[in-house]
């Protein structure tokens, strides 16, 4: 084990996978010479050269098309979006091509591409740079969606993403990049998709989270424990495939659930999890499932409004208390 930052663990995973498989290459804006806006690809172009760490023009549709095409002919591209907010212009490549080509070719063409980049608020980056659109991708058949919450997970899940033969949407979080944690150094350390992690055990309320909200929920759980409420905090890790069994096992025990997300609450991923809890654990519920999510507004620029637009520990605590009322 080594203690490292989330972005360092991700870089380590990239380095290991590029060393392991010569077909793995990176492409994106400012990832080579500039070494990445969030320094994720620092030093990689020097190490692997400009053919395997490819600086692209500022065209997300071009990056996504390049990566999808390269994947279709047998390479394993890792395409970076400077933020997932910018990937909207690449939606046609991702949804209409990468996600569907295996299906439409009757399985003859594989598309092992990883689309990665940060989501979430960046700290006063305003409406067009602060989105978390995981539910858009999770909504689309043919895409796997990964949202790691810890340095160890970002390494283990990224390596699984590179090795997967399907397009993978890999969503990092700007606020997580500097966070430190223990990371296994074993180059064969991977974390399978579809296996959620119970980050904290508790008997009273199941709190479901992924990405940055895992830490928020753990802090809320600490505070709630002081008043005698024990939360079981589950980190989904991957939204597609979704490990409902871990969630349902917990809900059958606690009889209450709060599902959290940072993205807009309306039609968000928490609604999907909540609906599945209702479908599959209805008879175990003792209170309505609560959702916690961001305010349904374009992200404001003003610092105080930005803070008000995203969910915090206090929102989780209130939701937990509502289920306990």
């Amino acid at each position: 084990m080594a203690v490292m930052r989330y972005q360092e663990a991700l870089r380590l995973a990239m380095t290991e996978e590029m060393e392991r498989d010569a077909n793995v290459f990176l492409c994106g804006e400012e990832i080579g010479q500039y070494q990445g806006t969030y320094r994720v690809t620092e030093g990689l172009q020097q190490k692997f050269g400009p053919m395997r760490v490819l600086d692209t023009p500022i065209s997300e549709v071009g990056i996504a098309g390049l990566a999808t095409g390269a994947a279709m002919v047998g390479l394993r591209p890792v395409a970076e979006f400077m933020t997932w907010s910018f990937a909207l212009s690449a939606m046609d490549q991702i949804v209409n091509h990468a996600a569907k080509i295996t299906y439409m070719s009757g399985g003859r063409i594989r598309c092992p591409v990883v689309f990665r980049g940060p989501v979430g608020r960046g700290g006063q980056l305003s409406a067009q740079h602060s989105m978390s659109l995981e539910s858009w991708y999770a909504h689309t058949p043919g895409l796997k969606v990964v949202a790691p919450a810890t340095p160890a997970d970002v390494k283990g899940l990224f390596k699984t993403a590179v090795r997967d033969d399907n397009p993978v949407i890999f969503m990092e979080h700007t606020a997580l990049y500097p966070q430190r944690g223990e990371v296994p150094e074993d180059p064969e350390f991977t974390i399978p998709f579809g296996v959620a992690a119970v980050r904290r055990e508790g008997a009273d309320v199941t709190v479901v989270a992924y990405s940055h909200m895992v830490g928020v929920c753990l802090k809320a759980a600490d505070l709630l424990a002081q008043e005698g409420i024990e939360c079981e905090v589950i980190d989904l890790r991957t939204l597609v495939p979704l490990d409902m069994e871990t969630v349902l096992t917990s809900v059958r025990k606690t009889n209450r659930a709060v599902v959290t997300q940072e993205e807009w609450k309306n039609v968000g991923f928490a609604a999907e999890v909540a609906a599945r809890i209702y479908e599959q654990a209805f008879d175990y519920l003792d209170a309505p499932v609560e959702r916690v999510g961001g305010a349904d507004v374009p992200m404001p620029y003003a610092r105080n409004l930005e803070r008000a637009a995203i969910p915090h520990e206090s929102d989780v605590i209130e939701a937990v208390r509502r289920t306990m009322s």
Partner: protein, 441 residues
Amino acid sequence: MIEIRMPKMGDGMEEGTILRWIKHEGDEIAVNDEIAEIETDKANVPIPAEDAGILAQVLVEEGRTVPVGTVIAYIHPPGTVPPDTGMPDRVATGEAGSTTPDAYDVIPEVDIHPPVVVHEPLKVSPIARRMAEEMGLDLSKIAGTGGGVGRITKRDVMTYLTQQQEGRAPAAVSAAPARTAEPRPQVAPAPPPASAPTPAAAPALAAPAAPTQEGQETEISRMRRAIARRTVQSKQTIPHFYLVMPVEMDRALKLLADLNADTPDQKITVNDLIVKACAVALTKYPDVNVSYTPEEKIRRYSAINIGIAVGTDEGLTVPVLPDCGSKSLRQISAEAKALIGKARAGALTPQEMSGGTFSVSNLGMFGIEEFAAIINPPESAILAVGAALPEVMSREDGGFETRQRMRITLSCDHRTVDGLLGAKFLQEVRRLLENPFSLLA
């Protein structure tokens, strides 16, 4: 929709029963109209409306008991109620007058859907419903407390089960005779009845049947239930101890006789004098005028509010005389008289039974020499007053004389009041009663 909730009408009130709905669904309601009559622990009181509108929906049937805070009805605010007769007036005038050039202008703003009367289903969480089914429980008997809407939750089912288990002990006892009685007729045709149930005792004596415990069970009143709950709570949670003090009442009785001779219409009673003495003594020993709080703190009250136990045919009530520390004997006497009258008439408001910091219970008029009372929580002490009875006393000069002696017993909560403090307090009460002129100040 405006929610009407079961109000909290007094300190100890945890639940209330809807005795009757004065207003009914569809009735118009003005502010302060009485909507329903509820029975609290010790009184029947009307609920006044805080908002005007139309009583849209009644959620709790008459006779049902719900926790404080439960939504019991909904009021439609004025102007929001969908009209009963489909289309609104505005359309009619629009058509009749035909003054509106553009037909789109007359699109009604009101909801064109016919009003739907929804009868609220019993709110039960899925797991609570399943538990009730599996255990064969009647959900309508379980009080719901969840979600701010009175939903029956798992916790409520568990609470109900606990209550059932606690309540089962006496029920099982009363069922016992029935059970032994039942097999006998069945056994009787074959072997002789005497040999059937208990071979050891029965055959030898051919004895009369075991004494039966037949009887009738009746539903208890809410007042009886409140008395049961509060006395059990008091005796189980408060470590009581008791101090008995004899008081010579000759001077006090003489004083009262003199006072009352002047103003027979404003008769001051022994009890009034004792309440006054307690108020003065509590002023001197404020550490008796306290509560032991659930947070394990001691709350010392600034006001001295003395409860007076009043027995009625229905049961015991304890109206509270507020702020006795600043009142004269005459004031205390007059207010006590009024409150006792209301108590006997069953007309006390919950406010008049709340806020006590100390209580006095007097059974002297029934010839009870002395007794120990149960503390009225959250108070710390209660004074039980016996009868003033003549006793022969030896005088210092060797002779004898008869004195009026009254025994008063202080029940103390040992968490707040130790023996020393209780004794000093009682000494002070005795000193005041034996030197009663100071109580006239």
